[in-house]
């Protein structure tokens, strides 16, 4: 497959040479009714790495993120043209099962949104509806493993059957991450996962993202440029529905090619 270089100005990021491509988008246009939210976007996302989408509010980064697991389908009047490939399959092909897709592409939302059920039930729900567990002990092991991966198990092991909504904000968000990884996804999408959390909880989540990077393809949308710099290997800068620049995180933050990127990361607008 030929490499696409967005906006036609950058060289291929170094990370793409080290990791296989997991997700590639080609000439994606997204419309909300009449509004053109994403304009002719092409990008490649590496596996087992964290890719950060940054940009001012309303630039379309969340919109594009939600197109990767077709969450935009639930929004009335939302249309997409072009291709989004997961491995080699265009997820917008007519024969793609959305439910199947979402079990491979998990999502963590801006506001922690645990189900108003017990901690155990929150994590067990995904495996249960996908029939992943053969029996009860199997399911219990899966829940414990997911909670451990999300770094939450030690804090909640004595109250697995209490409500998930009783946890602190940071714990709730880690519970949501545990819920997402319980169905063994390959890709995890995170839509500003720390915007509702305090700095300590944020640090904890960032640590977790860094650990998860070993096994998952992670895309994170963030408003915090420091966060993007800290956790990601690849950074993509969005502006007014355009993908302005994409490259290795250190490159983007030290020597951005585009004037707009430079202005944004130095705080001149945004």
């Amino acid at each position: 497959m030929d490499q696409i270089s967005p906006a036609g100005i950058q060289s291929i990021p170094r990370i793409m040479a080290k990791r296989p491509t997991r997700i590639s988008a080609r000439k994606v246009n997204i419309f909300y009714g009449e509004k053109h939210a994403i304009n002719d976007l092409s990008i490649e996302i590496p596996d087992r790495a964290v890719s950060a989408f940054i940009g001012p509010s309303g630039c379309g980064k969340s919109t594009f993120l939600r197109s990767v697991n077709r969450m935009n389908d639930t929004i009335a009047g939302c249309r997409l043209t072009g291709e989004v490939r997961l491995d080699d399959k265009n997820i917008y092909d007519a024969d793609v099962d959305v439910v199947q897709l979402r079990s491979h592409v998990g999502m963590v939302f801006q506001k922690p949104n645990p189900f108003p059920k017990s901690i155990f039930e929150n994590v067990a729900y995904g495996p249960r509806i996908h029939g992943l567990a053969k029996n009860k002990t199997d399911l219990e092991e899966m829940v414990v493993a997911s909670l451990k991966k999300a770094g939450l198990f030690d804090e909640v092991k004595d109250r697995l059957h209490q409500s998930g909504t009783g946890l602190s904000g940071g714990q709730q968000q880690r519970l949501c991450i545990a819920r997402a990884i319980a169905v063994n996804p390959e890709v995890i999408l995170m839509d500003e996962p720390c915007s509702a959390l305090d700095p300590i909880a944020t640090a904890r989540i960032e640590e977790l993202i860094d650990e998860l990077r070993q096994n998952y393809c992670i895309i994170i949308v963030t408003h915090s440029m420091q966060q993007a710099a800290r956790v990601s290997q690849l950074t993509a800068f969005f502006h007014l529905g355009n993908l302005v620049e994409v490259g290795d995180t250190d490159e983007i933050f030290t020597s951005p090619q585009d004037k707009r990127t430079q202005d944004y990361i130095t705080g001149r607008f945004g």
């Binding site: 639930t74 939302f109 506001k111 729900y125 509806i129």
Partner: protein, 409 residues
């Protein structure tokens, strides 16, 4: 130095306070007024209705004369004559026609029926002397309750002195169907009719309404058609109930040929009537569930149907139950549409099924309030009390259910 003390120098500020005080006063006044009206209404109903729950009986020592009551066929015996003779025996000097009439009007027509039931159940009583508490007629009953003057109070006092009058709880008010005799008329027919009707109404209206709400709120595409449907559902909620009655008459009775006055038809009409209420309340409840919950479910790969039934619907259930309570209350209290399908007929029998002729509580109230006999006034008030009690009980159950579902989360 800033002056923070309250003083009247600042006229602008004191004006603001005055407005606030006045507003609070209006609120308090409105509250007091409604409370007074409500208390007056309830007290008046209870005051008028309570006497209907008791009845007076005269204690007679009756010789069950084998000459009048055939031991082979006690059913056909002249129990009425037996009771009247017992009464007459104590007033030997009352021989004229008017006197006889006076004597005959002491007892209820139902008194003989009670005695007949007793003897038929136990034929060994024939030939024995037994004590019978015979039910008084409505007029003498009202006299002893002190609610109405009697034509000849001295005579009734004599009866009391000679035989003794007892007062007891009127179970027959809950055991009998309707009757032309006030002292015999009961509510059971109306209560059973109301229950049967409401069972049909909610049994149809609740699943249909909740299903429609789920579809419209969660699955239906948002386009001109669904907008049109939504507007029409809202309009339907404002349609006068008598129109639904006419619809029921035209469709269910005339076109489909369903039985007249039957709870099943009443229930169908009421189901149509409460449907918009249930749909609107259920949609509001579903809309109030944060969309993040549905997104979370979709995010882990639940199908839209799973997301709705596993997560959204359980969270909306308390609100949906509120809609059901509103529908239930409306169905219980509705009168006008049922008049149109014939549930206003005088029906003495207690309905045994959904297709038997029946009436309902509010219609019974309407029927009784129309009758000239004084005793029916307190019966009407008592029926209103029962109607209110049934409504409270039904609402209580629904509120209990709602609390229980809320606690689960």
């Amino acid at each position: 130095m800033i002056d923070l003390t309250r003083n009247s120098n600042n006229s602008f500020l004191s004006k603001r306070y005055a407005v606030e005080k006045r507003f609070k006063l209006y609120g308090a006044l409105a509250l007091v007024l409604t409370t007074v009206f409500l208390a007056f209404l309830l007290l008046d109903i209870i005051n008028k209705g309570l006497p209907a729950f008791t009845e007076h009986r005269v204690t007679l020592e009756v010789m069950v004369d084998p000459a009048k009551i055939d031991a082979v066929n006690p059913q056909a015996g002249d129990f009425d004559g037996l009771l009247k003779d017992t009464l007459r025996a104590q007033f030997p000097d009352m021989g004229s026609r008017t006197d006889k009439k006076k004597l005959n009007s002491v007892l209820s027509q139902g008194a003989a029926d009670d005695l007949r039931d007793q003897v038929v159940a136990d034929p060994s009583l024939i030939g024995q002397k037994i004590v019978v508490n015979a039910l008084l007629s409505d007029e003498s009953d009202l006299y002893f309750k002190g609610l109405a003057p009697a034509k000849d109070p001295a005579f009734l006092d004599q009866v009391k002195d000679k035989f003794g009058i007892t007062k007891s709880f009127a179970w027959r008010f809950f055991e009998n169907g309707d009757s032309r005799e006030p002292e015999l008329a009961g509510l059971r027919g109306a209560i059973v009719g109301s229950l049967l009707t409401v069972i049909v109404a909610l049994g149809l209206g609740l699943p249909l309404g909740v299903g429609a709400a789920i579809y419209l709120e969660q699955f239906a595409p948002k386009n001109r058609w669904t907008d049109l449907i939504e507007v029409n559902i809202n309009n339907l909620a404002a349609v006068p109930s008598i129109i639904f009655g006419l619809l029921g008459l035209a469709m269910f009775l005339n076109v489909f040929g369903f039985p007249r006055s039957a709870p099943v038809v009443g229930g169908l009409v009421l189901a149509l009537l409460v449907l918009p209420t249930i749909i609107i309340a259920s949609r509001a409840a579903l809309r109030a569930v944060p969309p993040s919950i549905k997104e979370a479910a979709l995010g882990v790969g639940a199908s839209p149907q799973q997301a709705v039934f596993h997560h959204v619907l359980p969270l909306a259930l308390p609100g949906i139950l509120t809609g059901a309570i509103l529908g239930l209350a409306r169905a219980f209290g509705e009168t006008a549409p049922l008049l149109m399908i014939g549930m206003i007929a005088f029906i003495a029998d207690i309905p045994k099924g959904f297709t038997d002729a029946a009436t309902v509580l509010p219609v019974q109230v309407y029927l009784w309030s129309d009758l000239p006999e004084l005793a029916f006034q307190s019966k009407t008030a008592a029926a209103i009390m029962v109607l209110i009690a049934v409504l409270f009980a039904a609402n209580g159950v629904a509120i209990y259910l709602r609390r229980r579902f809320e606690r689960r989360w």
